[in-house]
Point group: C2
Chain length 109, copies 2
DNA sequence: CTGGAATATTACTCTTTGGTTGTGAGGTAA
DNA sequence: TTACCTCACAACCAAAGAGTAATATTCCAG
């Protein structure tokens, strides 16, 4: 498969990567991955140390780009990561990052 | 493999995704992928329509996060994408984006 | 050595965006 | 109804970043 990165796609792709390029949102994603069940917004805010309003904005961003699913239930809203995309991206990037760290570690011996 | 997103990694990962979350840098990456050989900075600037200084900054960013290789040769500097990471990321994300588009297309019929 | 070409860097502007505070809209329970 | 809880949204501030213009720096040709 060619990369097929058309002009029309670039806007979408920048949105996705822009959403992933923030520490708070990555921490939210991590807590959602660690939890076995969907988490309420309050639980996410408490686990990550974010304020309520801040967590709301970041979760809305993650939902907008399609990384997280949103499921209202009664008064509270539950969020869960959309697998396997998130897991795949994590594996890919974590592998790359650890490779780079190992390489720069070997470089200074 | 678990996602293994440690606190120490998050800074690195945000750097990587932050680099990918910009249209100009994605266009640079695309021209580097389309070209079969390493491209000089001037060639990249011309192909993407970026100014010289701007292309220099974006290419430096891509090199810093390890997505692009930099190879000076005489007076000019040649850049090439680091495969297969870039190709893998493109396949993953492009697939996800097209899936979303297809899904929203089916949704309004 | 001199002129020119390719890249890096600095200073500046302007837009974007993360974070906070305050408020309002639903939903639930007494 | 009232009280309360969960979340969304607006306005605002501050920091980060994309873009430009001008100025080095380095290298090669003549």
């Amino acid at each position: 498969m060619k990369h097929g990165l058309t002009d029309a796609m670039i806007e979408q792709v920048t949105g996705l990567f822009g959403a992933l390029g923030d520490g708070s949102r990555l921490r939210i994603l991590r807590t959602l991955l660690d939890a076995k069940e969907p988490q309420s917004q309050g639980a996410v805010a408490e686990a990550t140390g974010l304020s309520q309003a801040n967590a709301s904005k970041h979760l809305a961003c993650l939902v907008r780009v399609g990384l997280v699913a949103r499921e209202p239930e009664g008064n509270t809203v539950y969020f869960s990561p959309i697998l396997p995309l998130v897991a795949n991206i994590c594996n890919l990037v974590c592998g790359h990052v650890t490779d780079r760290v190992k390489k720069s570690y070997r470089a200074l011996r």
